[in-house]
């Protein structure tokens, strides 16, 4: 079966996508869950251990607190309270920490340090899997056993004000609530006023038991201007005042004889030096936890707060309120909180916590009895029993006290051991699904590689021996073999496995597909091997029979691609991947510069006697060409690579990304600060004009008008949102969401895309007009440019501008004039695309994804467009370059009719090699320290990019199809 190279490449990419999806499903473990779907109940609690007599009382100690106020300040960093600036930032809180009756800790949040997983962790006590980040945007109700549910069941009355994630996670749990949405990141006053406005009336009332406040303003300030901005201090002072207000209200309500209150100040995660969060750096992970209650001892001075896990708060609160600890909690109670209760109660609390942990351990581990913690807990429970016996007998000696202390210590050790064993359990992988996914991906990659000589030949068609493979005996044998392996694996493993849980039809399809691929692979390899040496001498990869001589540029392109793939193995190189791309791009520009110099200077110096002119460019130009034009063209061509280099250097300092140097000041921050708004406005206006000039030249007049109006709309949208200034506007304007302006731009984008599609269809169906077709293609491209300019932040417009400028210059003076072939051009486009991905401020960290893009022109969160827009703006760089590649190659059609096919094939190869290598690397490094914080986000980025490339290849496909149809 003969298929065209582009069809073949898209087919391979799509199936690789499926393979990687299977791999991802196996790689991201489902969060630890108890096998009982029910929730812990008060009546299920274990009896108090007592040796000798039958277990008598299931007595619970009295709750420690009557009322609890939880004040959660989003992105509150540990050093905002405990650091050197803490006294200035939060004076009252700091006084309470140093002199008041309080306990303070540094609570370590687990990565991903994103709000929703953190809220889940705080309420369920479990550590949510990484996959929760992906689900962050649509948070359905939390069905797991959690503290809020337990409190509601116990009849506690709860009030909530703050981030509406809580309202969505816990619908109908709160007696009273007011959720504020956190999506308009530029707003940092209104979100907090919405929370505080209810506070006075609520604090006066007596009809609630738990009050939860979630303040978002600090997080938004962090996202806008980082942790050292001037906005931080007023915001923290505001938070401090609120804490003071709550505290004094609680003190005044405090009645003699009743249980005391508890005031909790905590953060869900910290804030990195750039103000974002999501990763696992120290400032993102460390959050303060301050517990204030008259039940605690008064402090005498500042001591370094001890470190606890964030999930430890859950059992502590549960026990403090007299609630059962939620089933999946892996936290352990903070012993300091219990220190003022009687020894009996302390032991009982620890026993309850230990019992819950041991139950979870039993459920989640087949060989739980071998765990050290489990054994320690059994021993401690026995000792507790005998201590209780002595205690009930009325023994009150010092010996008993010491013995109790010893039991306490045993309990604490057991809790620590069990908790850490459970946390480790979270890193379990579904190896079978992962291996199955990997096998798919590698079979496809090998087929892709083996097809290289055919795909890059003049015909650009691949001969796939599908039918012979399907009819051969080995295919059926392989099917049987793989099916039996599948049955064997699935019946023998105890742990759950996604691939095994698939339906039989799907599994059989997968098995048949895999065996067919294997047969195709073998027959292609045998076809290649004996023939190869005969025709091409030593190199089996030699294309079209001619000898392969690699130029310096080819060596660089190959070495760069391979080197970049290999560099993914080091976590620092994954974090700093942008450096690699910038480095390679620079070298590429220098190599191109050398080529240009060689072309023009060699020609000049040795036009007569050279035995082999490097480029027959004299033949291309008619001799009538004026000499001056050739000369100016020469200098423009010579200036293009240095100009590109300068552009890249400037863009590089626009957005600092990565980890090690992310904190360095960059131009983007400078532009975004309020005093430089005029500069930003001028820059944005200049960029928009330049974008118009660069894009319009190949559009029809309708699109030109639409483009101009659209770009005007982009500017007014940015002005409405408050990023840039209108010249006639003064500072006293109100910022709106800019919905009208953004929708205005959307109309023009759709219009341009429509004209483009219409032109394409007309050129395809009615007239076989190549000019009309390239215009249509360019119009689609310009629609994309307009959309991207709407989505990009104002300070990122230079990135788009430089992208267009470099594309225009390179296409005009380098790629056309130097006669690079389709493969070389594709690789260069791909490198540029990758570099621009990082130029726009992206990194391999989830935190740099700008989700606020998903709300451009929308009143509220709508899932599908939000995800689409976010993905589009994140991958704008690679996408624009890939689209430009389509435009460029199809305009080169008269020179090489199969350029599109070659380009598509190369793109597929360039994407699948790193993706396939990366999944192997990730599998090998799955117990690496940074697997969750560094390698997994990169895995998500890689798979997303693969998906995107598959889409681009399909587009290529339609383009090529119409070419061949218009030819015939």
């Amino acid at each position: 079966m003969k298929v065209r190279a582009s069809v073949f490449a898209s087919f391979i990419l799509i199936f690789e996508g499926i393979g990687i999806a299977l791999f991802l499903r196996g790689f991201f473990p489902v969060p630890l869950k108890s096998s009982f779907s029910s929730k812990n109940k008060l009546s299920d609690l274990p009896a108090e251990p007592l040796t000798g007599s039958s277990p008598n009382s299931s007595r619970l100690p009295q709750p420690l607190f009557k009322r609890v106020v939880i004040m959660l300040v989003d992105a509150l960093r540990e050093d905002f309270v405990f650091g050197a600036n803490g006294r200035v930032y939060m004076p009252y809180t700091r006084h309470q920490v140093e002199r008041g009756s309080s306990h303070s800790f540094v609570a370590k949040a687990r990565p991903p340090t994103v709000t929703m997983p953190r809220i889940k962790a705080l309420t369920t006590g479990s550590i949510p899997g990484f996959i929760d980040v992906v689900m962050n945007l649509n948070s359905p109700a939390l069905l797991e056993d959690n503290l809020v549910w337990q409190a509601k069941t116990a009849g506690k009355r709860m009030i909530f004000y703050g981030d509406d994630t809580w309202v969505r996670l816990f619908p109908k749990h709160f007696m009273e609530y007011d959720g504020t949405t956190s999506f308009f990141v530029s707003d940092y006053t209104e979100v907090d006023n919405n929370v505080t406005r209810h506070l006075d009336s609520t604090l006066k009332r007596d009809d609630w038991d738990i009050l939860i406040l979630h303040y978002l303003g600090l997080d938004h300030i962090g996202h806008i201007s980082g942790p050292h901005s001037s906005l931080i201090q007023p915001k923290l002072l505001e938070m401090d005042d609120i804490l003071k207000k709550i505290h004094s209200a609680l003190i005044s309500k405090e009645a003699e004889g009743s249980l005391p209150y508890l005031l909790v100040l905590c953060g869900d995660h910290g804030m990195s030096e750039t103000g974002s969060h999501g990763g696992s750096s120290e400032p993102e992970v460390n959050t303060p936890l301050v517990l204030i209650s008259p039940a605690f001892k008064r402090k005498v001075g500042m001591e370094r707060p001890a470190a606890v896990e964030q999930v430890d708060l859950t059992p502590t609160l549960a026990l403090g309120l007299g609630l059962p600890i939620s089933q999946n909690s892996v936290g352990r109670v903070i012993p300091g909180v219990l220190e003022e209760t009687s020894l009996r109660d302390q032991l009982r609390f620890l026993h309850l916590n230990g019992h819950q942990l041991s139950c979870l351990l039993k459920d989640s581990m087949p060989d739980y009895e071998k765990e050290a913690g489990f054994e320690q807990f059994r021993v401690a429970e026995k000792a507790h029993g005998s201590w209780m016996k002595l205690f009930l007998e009325g023994n009150t000696s010092e010996v008993l006290n010491n013995m109790g202390k010893k039991v306490l210590k045993q309990y604490l050790e057991a809790l620590a051991a069990m908790s850490s064993a459970l946390s480790k359990q979270l890193g379990k992988y579904d190896m079978y699904s992962m291996i199955a996914g990997m096998v798919f991906v590698f079979q496809l990659l090998l087929v892709l590689l083996l097809a290289m000589p055919e795909a890059l030949s003049g015909a650009a068609a691949v001969d796939l021996p599908v039918l012979p493979a399907l009819l051969s005996l080995p295919f059926y044998l392989l099917c049987l073999l793989l099916a039996s392996v599948h049955v064997l694996v699935c019946t023998s493993t105890e742990s759950s496995c996604y691939f095994c849980s698939l339906s039989w039809g799907l599994v059989f399809a997968a098995v048949a597909f895999s065996s067919a691929m294997f047969c195709i692979l073998v027959s292609m390899a045998t076809r290649r091997l004996p023939l190869g040496p005969k025709i091409h001498g030593k190199s089996p990869l030699g294309s079209s029979g001619s000898e392969w001589s690699l130029s310096e540029l080819d060596v660089l392109l190959l070495a760069g691609t391979v080197g970049q793939t290999l560099s993914l193995a080091a976590s620092s190189f994954v974090e700093e991947e942008h450096q690699i791309w910038y480095f390679l791009l620079n070298t590429l520009c220098l190599a191109v510069f050398q080529d240009v110099c060689r072309k023009y200077f060699r020609e000049q110096s040795g036009s007569g006697d050279e035995e082999e002119p490097i480029l027959p460019s004299k033949d291309c130009h008619p001799p009538a060409h004026p000499k001056a034009e050739i000369c100016s063209e020469k200098w423009l061509a010579l200036a293009t690579p240095p100009f590109t280099l300068v552009c890249c250097r400037l863009l590089r300092s626009l957005n600092q990304t990565g980890v090690q140097w992310a904190h360095l000041p960059d131009v983007g921050h400078w532009l975004n600060s309020s005093e430089h708004r005029t500069v930003l406005s001028l820059l944005a206006a200049f960029c928009l004009v330049l974008i118009y000039l660069l894009v319009q030249r190949r559009c029809s007049w309708v699109s030109k008008v639409a483009l101009a109006l659209g770009l005007l709309g982009v500017y007014s949208y940015r002005a409405a949102v408050g990023n840039v200034l209108f010249p006639w506007q003064h500072s006293g304007r109100t910022t709106s969401k800019g919905t009208v302006e953004a929708r205005f731009v959307y109309v023009f984008i759709l219009g341009i895309l429509f004209t483009g599609t219409k032109d394409l269809l007309r050129s395809q169906i009615i007239t076989a007009d190549a000019k009309l077709k390239s215009r249509g293609l360019w119009e689609i491209y310009s629609g994309l440019v307009l959309l991207v300019s709407l989505l990009f932040r104002a300070h990122n417009l230079p990135v788009l501008c430089c992208c267009l400028l470099v594309q225009t210059l390179m296409a005009q003076f380098i790629w056309k004039k130097l006669h690079y072939d389709a493969a070389q051009t594709t690789i260069m486009h791909y490198w540029f695309g990758q570099a621009f991905f990082y130029f726009q401020g992206n990194s391999n960290n989830i935190a740099t994804v700008d989700i606020s893009v998903g709300f451009v022109g929308l009143e509220s969160y709508v899932e599908a467009p939000a995800i689409f827009l976010t993905a589009l703006s994140t991958y704008a760089g690679p996408l624009l370059w890939a689209c430009h590649l389509v435009c460029f190659l199809s305009s080169q059609r008269d020179r090489s009719p199969v350029a599109l096919g070659h380009g598509c094939y190369c793109l597929a190869l360039l994407r699948s090699v790193p993706a396939a290598a990366y999944i192997v690397l990730v599998t090998a490094l799955r117990y690496h320290l940074f697997i969750w914080s560094v390698f997994s986000p990169k895995l998500l980025y890689e798979s997303m990019h693969l998906l995107l490339t598959a889409g681009v290849c399909l587009f290529f496909n339609t383009m090529e199809q119409s070419h061949s149809s218009s030819k015939s």
């Binding site: 080091a570 976590s571 620092s572 190189f573 974090e575 700093e576 450096q579 690699i580 910038y582 480095f583 620079n586 070298t587 220098l590 110099c597 060689r598 200077f601 060699r602 110096s605 490097i614 280099l645 300068v646 890249c648 250097r649 590089r652 990565g658 090690q660």
Partner: protein
């Protein structure tokens, strides 16, 4: 005749390599607290100075520099002046390229410039010695099939090795190992140095093994 030239080349290279070695060892003995990492710039200048001086002396003694027709003092002076100018321009060129590669523009300008000086004294200086201040000849040598003598080939190999060495030397910088040699510009200058020394060894060896295939057109 070939063997003679190769032998001359090998001994020249041995002398230059020895000078690099001495420039590292002698200050270490004389200056207290001298080390390659710790006082990197000092090492860098001492090495580039030594290489400059020794190459100038050796190539002048060997008389490889193309003979000039005129022997007037004024011509010699202008030649000297042009060589100095090219040397300085080449420093600026390397500095610019390194900044384009991402070195900070203002912050560590001295370090960057020192690296540029080292690279110049390892590459451009040799060109000046072998080809003289003649840009046309440089372009000829560094384009494909442009070598016209054994020394041209040797120049190509050493320059390529040095530049590639400096290029490869930049790779360890982003790694988070916190080693003293990851500090800017230590790894790059070490890489350039190692590349240069490799080039010194590789050039005569490569020419020796390929002497059967090497053909040079006469001018």
């Amino acid at each position: 005749m070939w063997d003679h030239e190769i032998r001359a080349m090998a001994s020249t290279h041995a002398i230059i390599a020895a000078s690099v070695f001495m420039a590292t060892v002698i200050p270490a003995a004389l200056v207290p607290g001298f080390s390659v990492y710790g006082t990197h710039l000092l090492w860098l200048y001492s090495v580039s100075g030594a290489v400059t001086a020794v190459s100038l002396a050796v190539f002048w003694l060997l008389g490889i520099t193309p003979p000039t027709k005129k022997h007037t003092v004024g011509f010699k002076l202008s030649r000297l002046f042009r060589s100095c100018l090219y040397f300085f321009l080449s420093c600026l060129f390397f500095h610019t390229v390194v900044v384009l590669y991402g070195a900070p523009l203002i912050e560590s300008a001295l370090e960057t410039f020192s690296l540029a000086v080292l690279l110049t004294s390892l590459t451009t200086l040799r060109c000046l010695c072998v080809l003289g201040p003649n840009v046309q000849a440089w372009i000829r040598v560094f384009s494909r099939h442009g070598a016209m003598s054994v020394w041209d080939t040797c120049l190509q190999i050493t320059v390529a090795c040095t530049v590639v060495g400096a290029w490869v030397g930049a790779f360890p910088i982003p790694l988070d190992w916190d080693r003293p040699w990851q500090v800017w510009p230590v790894s790059c200058s070490l890489g350039a140095m190692i590349g240069f020394l490799t080039g010194l060894v590789a050039a005569p060896a490569w020419i020796h093994y390929h002497r059967k295939h090497l053909t040079y057109k006469c001018k």
